[in-house]
Every structure is written in structure tokens, then in C-alpha cells.
Amino acid sequence: MEVAQETLTAPAATETVQVSGSVALLEALIAEGTDTIFGYPGGAIMPIYDALFDYNDKLNHILVRHEQGGIHAGQGYARTSGKVGVVFATSGPGATNLVTGLADAQIDSTPLVCITGQVFAHLLGTDAFQETDVINITTPVTKWNYQVTDATEIPEVIAKAFYIARSGRPGPVLIDITKNAQIQLFDFAGYKPCDHIRSYRPKPIVRTQYIDEAAALINNAKKPFILFGQGVILGSAEQEFKAFVEKSGIPAAWTILGAGAIPTDHPQNVGMLGMHGNYGPNVLTNDCDVLIAIGMRFDDRVTGRLDKYAKQAKVVHLDIDPAEIDKNVKSTVPVWGDCKETLPLLTAAIAKKEYPEWLAKFNDYTKQEVEAVIHNELNPTTPEMTMGEVIKQLNEITKGEAVIVTDVGQHQMVACRYAQFNNTRSNVTSGGLGTMGFALPAAIGAKFGAPNRTVVAIIGDGGFQMTCQELGTIMQSGVDVKIVILNNRFLGMVRQWQELFNQRRYSFVDIQSPDFVALAAAYRIPGKLIDDRADLTTALNEMLSTPGSFLLEVMVTKENNVFPMVPQGCSVSEIRLK
């Protein structure tokens, strides 16, 4: 046994070294490949932060301005890098501030390991200062959570945490560590990653019988249709997916989290599904004969009314999570498995085909949608700018190569509809939870996760004000994030619903904003406000060519609506163009 030391290089498995729980934690994080941590200190996590002081060269800690910002940054990092996001927070209020982000990561299957400090073990359950029952609060919004009260548990628990967060259907894990366990010294015998938990089956053995049945359905189909979601991206199966799409010749449409899994301009990519998705993919869902759902979960925003959803179609559902199969839409053939494994098998089993007439039907609908909606949105004749034209301009300048991080609201739907994604892991948005305030911190994390890519956050005037304190994080860390605020002076999406469904009773959606550019300036971030179309291209170019972060506020039409729209409670074929 060696003498205690502050930091250590991973010891050989046979040696043991006396370390504190905090040092063991940091060594474990490094062993798992962590390079960046988003966090905020406090009393109950001080020993970990104290240990972190000596790990400056190995672990880059980003001090956020609010724990919600920290966890959204962790999500952004995970989404662009494909790695596990790591977040630190203290006990009590620090931990509870993570809840929104945990719920968001849970529903969007984002791999995270959150570490929260907790009061001393002997104080648990006594209403001690800043004690909260974090385990129970976070149980419904984590894939797994665990409270550590003894330092000797730390290496194994962290190994499990990473394994669970990233394997199978990924998700957030929270580890709550009492202060005594952070301080306690113990014999650390090195770190062993976890690759098996007795009670946990991340991946099934793929059953070829289902592959054969699925292939038979697909080969006999006249009007097959592919719906793809984030499962393709989470499974790193983009190549396998492309091969399947191209051999099968089947038109494919995406959920917002699936965007970018194949390039937006791929000839078989027929657009976006769901409430504000494209016209053709929605209507033709109720026309196809075989529906092939890949790594998507038939969210109600995608399906609209379930009892009128694709009733005519035979359904093939590929998913890694058996709980998703038959949950909302009954499948004819369930293909349970990791799509990285199932897709190549399916591709091998199907015939090479093309469906020119069927594909043309999608194109007919696209034409109608262009005439009724898209043309006016992208080439408006009104004096005021539209959200769509801003996205279109941005696209042309970035050539579809940027990572687009969106907040929640009209601008989100417009960005997802009109942004071009040439690459996977380019669309970072809060899909399942729809969390306003997501974009600014997520964009910070997205840039750390993909440092060589341009990251542009598209945010509404409402959502920006939910987490705008993270401008401080941008200032201090020097991260390069381009921020576009699409200011319609309304909580636009709610206003749209009030206009369409509540007889224009605009109840508390008229929101005032500060001088965003001055606010950015207060954080030493350059910015600009434009309200004239003539300035748009120049301003976007200025934003993109300015080194470091930049805030561009664009005044857009106050009362513009996002169409098409499947009204709540309607079927996908009742999608409205106006």
C-alpha cells in the first residue's frame, strides 16, 4: 500500500492506494473518458470540488450560473458528442434544480451522469440544512439513481452509472454522495468499468424470425413508409439506416429528434412528422400499407389521434426498448433490438426496389405545401421578417453544416422544419418535454461536445429569458456560441393556440423583453438587433464571422402562425395548411 496522495495516475489493478471518495470519483470519471463537467458548487459537494482543484489539467469544469443550466449543458454536450454528459450539483436546492433537466433527458433518452452532494449520512432523514430526499424526488425522472453513503462503493457505483446511462436505451443517472463518503479515505484498488449487471439487459439477442417476417411484409408492400427517430442516432446506426433506406427505395420521414439521421436533402427524405410536420408525411401515414417505424416511439405529437392513426397499415416496429413496442401503436411485426444490428439484417433480407409513383405522391403534397405555406414563409412580401426566412438565410450561409440548438415554441418548429441538416447530431432540441430555457445552456454544452462545429442557438424572446443568466457562463468560459433570438414580442406558440382555439383571447402571452443586445454587452458578448430584411444577410454573416459568441436579435412578425398543423385531438390526415 502506498502513501496517500492528492491525485494519482490510475494505479495498477493489484496495488491499492488510500484515497478519499472524492478523488476516487474523479479518477473514475477520467477512466470513463470524461473531459468536461458542468456544475455548481455548494457546501455538501465541497470535498469533491476541493479534489477537483488538483485535476485542472485533466477535467475541464464549466461553472454555470444555475444548475438547470448545468444539466441542459450536459445534455447539449451528450447530444453532439455522443458521450455521457457529466453534471455536478450540491445538495438540496442544487439537486432540485436538476429535476427539469433530468425529466428532459429521460424522455429524450440522453445519457447523463449527475453527481449531487448530500448531507452527512448520520444526518439523513433529520431535515438537516439543505437536505432533500433527492433519490425519491428524482426516481421518476432517472433511468437509475443511487445514494452512496460509504466511499468504498464509489468506484463500482460510478462504473454502473456510466454503463447504465449509455447502454441500451440511454438515459440520465443520478448518484447522490453523502459528504462523509466524499471525505472518507479508503483503499482504492483501481477502476474497473462495468460491462454486466445481473438484472439489466440493455440489448436483446436479435431474433431472425422477426427479421424474416418484416422483410416479407416490406417485399410485398405497394406503399411502404419509413418513420425514423432518434434511435438511429443513439444507436450510431446512420450508415446502416442509409443503406436500408437506399436499398428499400422507401420514402422516409423523421420525428424532430430523428432529424439529421440522414441528410435533409436526401431524395427519399420526405420531411418531418407530427403536429407541425410536413403535409405529405402526415396525410400519407394514413395511406401507406406498411409502416416501418425505426427508433421512434409514436409520441402523441407525432400520431395525433391514435384511433385514426395508420389503421390501414401493417406496422413493423424496430426498437431497443421493449416497453415502446405496442405501447401506442400495435405492431404487426415487432423487431426488438439495437437498430445497429437489426437494420443490416433487414437490409440483407429485402429486395432492392423503387417506388417512383408512391414517392411522387409525397412530392405532390410538398408542392401543395410549398404553395400554401412554405413559399410565403421563406419569401415573404410583408414588411416584417418571418422566422422562416431567417432560418433559410442562416442555412444558406452555413450550408447545412451547423449544429442548430433550439428552444421551445414557434421558432423551434420553424427551425426544425426549415433548417438543413447535412450531418447527424446536428439538431439539438428538447423534444419530449418541450423545455423552454433549454437552448442557451444546451448550446454551450453542444459546443463543448463538438468544438470544431459552428453552433447556432435559435431562441424565442420568452425562452431566452428563462435561462439568460447563462450568458455569464459564456462570458467566463469563452465558449463560442452564436445566439439568434427570434423576437415576436409574444409567447408565440401559446398565442397561436389562443388565436386558433380560444377566439384570440390573448391571456398573458404579451411578453416584454429587456434590451437583449445591451444585456449581452453587459456580459461582454457582442450583439446586434435588426428589424429590416435588408440587414439580415449582413448581420448573419457578421455573427458567424465574429470570433467567439455573438447575439443577434431579429425582430419578426408579431402574429405569425406555424403551419401546417395537426390540431390537438385530430388525426394526422386532418392536418391543416391554414
Binding site: 433519490i135 425519491n136 426516481t139 421518476p140 433511468k143 437509475w144 439513481n145 443511487y146 445514494q147 447504465i164 460491462d195 454486466h196 449487471i197 445481473r198 438484472s199 439489466y200 439487459r201 436483446p204 439477442i205 431474433r207 422477426y210 426498448d321 421493449p322 416497453a323 413496442i325 405496442d326 405501447k327 400495435k330 415487432p334 426488438w336
Partner: protein, 200 residues
């Protein structure tokens, strides 16, 4: 599966690691869907370190199937099965406390015990405790009989159920312990068997 399914009693059997917090993880799956748990029993199983939950709910099979998948998704849950009452042998235990004076004076105790399959567990000067085991109607029956004689206290356990068509969990567990378990454990029974699911 097109016509809405009838609700009926289902016995859900869950094999889990013995882990703090798991009860609330499992309970949340029911409360979140506003499903009432009629009976819940948890205890160590025949296998060291493995716990067994017996949960009874009154729901349609479709709902039960979805619930069991959500339960099985929990990291520390090894396996979940569900069965109708016909597929299991089940018992509940009931204890009845009555005044010894009253019961000795007014009731033919012997008849009472014989006819209801009851046993006296404790006989004290002040009170006597009887026990029966059986289905709900059977244990209810004795309440009705004793109520007129001043039943002081009554308690009934959760249901425990043994699955008729089961080879037990020992062999399955060994599969779970392997890094590369065989199809038997890893395969998804409900996908494999369509509607006829969760047999052991």
C-alpha cells in the same frame, strides 16, 4: 385485441435485486398511471439476495402487459410475469381477535374452527386470536361469523401466489448471472409468444 378487454384480477410476480428504493420505483409505475394496487407483498424469495413481489391489480390484460414491461425496464428488476387467478395458487392469511369470555360463552368454538378451517393462535384470559388462510371470500366468511360477537381486531395479509406452470427461478437466475445469457433469458417472451405471454 380490437374490442376493449374486460378488467380482471391479475397477479404480477416480480423478481428483483434486494435494493433500497426499488419499492418506490415500482410503485411509481402504478401511481403514475393512476392504477390502484389491490394487494402487494414483498419478501425474500427461495434464492438468496433475490426478492419477490406479488402485486394484484384489477385491470385489462393490455394495461397489465404494458405495466409489466415498464417494471421489467427497471435496472434492478430481473424478471416480471403476470397471470390470471386461474394460473396461480394463491392464499391470504387473516388474523381475528375476539374476547375470550364472549367466544367461550356464546359460540361453539369447535364448530367454528372446523367449519372455517381456522386455528386458534393465541388463547389468553382476555382475548383469543384465530387464524385462517384462503381466498378472500373464505377469510371474509369468518369475519361475518365473528362480527356479532364483538370482533375486536382483524388483519389480513397481502396475497401470495405460486405460479402453477413454473419451474422456479433458480435455473433462470444462473442464466442472468452469465455475461452472455442464453436466448431463454434475453429473449422477449411477450414478443415471442404474441398474446400468450409470461409463462415460466
Amino acid at each position: 385485441m380490437s374490442e376493449p378487454e374486460e378488467k380482471q384480477e391479475f397477479n404480477i410476480t416480480v423478481y428483483t435485486e434486494n435494493q433500497i428504493g426499488l419499492l418506490s420505483r415500482i410503485a411509481i409505475i402504478f401511481t403514475r398511471r393512476k392504477i390502484n394496487i389491490d394487494s402487494l407483498n414483498t419478501s425474500p424469495s427461495e434464492i438468496d439476495s433475490i426478492h419477490r413481489f406479488n402485486i394484484v391489480i384489477n385491470e385489462s390484460e393490455d394495461v397489465v402487459r404494458k405495466l409489466t414491461r415498464q417494471i421489467e425496464k427497471q435496472v434492478e428488476v430481473l424478471k416480471v410475469y403476470y397471470h390470471t387467478n386461474e394460473d396461480v395458487i394463491w392464499q391470504e392469511l387473516a388474523l381475528y381477535k375476539v374476547s375470550t369470555d364472549v367466544i367461550a360463552e356464546k359460540v361453539s368454538v369447535e364448530r367454528l374452527l372446523r367449519e372455517n378451517g381456522a386455528r386458534a393462535v393465541v388463547i389468553r384470559k382476555d382475548y383469543t386470536v384465530f387464524e385462517t388462510t384462503g381466498h378472500r371470500e373464505e377469510t371474509d366468511n369468518l369475519i361475518n361469523i365473528l362480527q356479532p360477537y364483538g370482533l375486536i381486531e382483524f388483519v389480513r395479509s397481502a396475497r401470495v401466489a405460486i405460479i402453477k406452470d413454473s419451474d422456479g427461478f433458480n435455473r433462470k437466475l444462473r442464466e442472468f448471472e452469465r455475461l452472455e445469457p442464453g436466448e431463454d433469458v434475453i429473449e422477449n417472451e411477450y414478443l415471442n409468444q404474441g398474446q400468450k405471454v409470461f409463462t415460466m
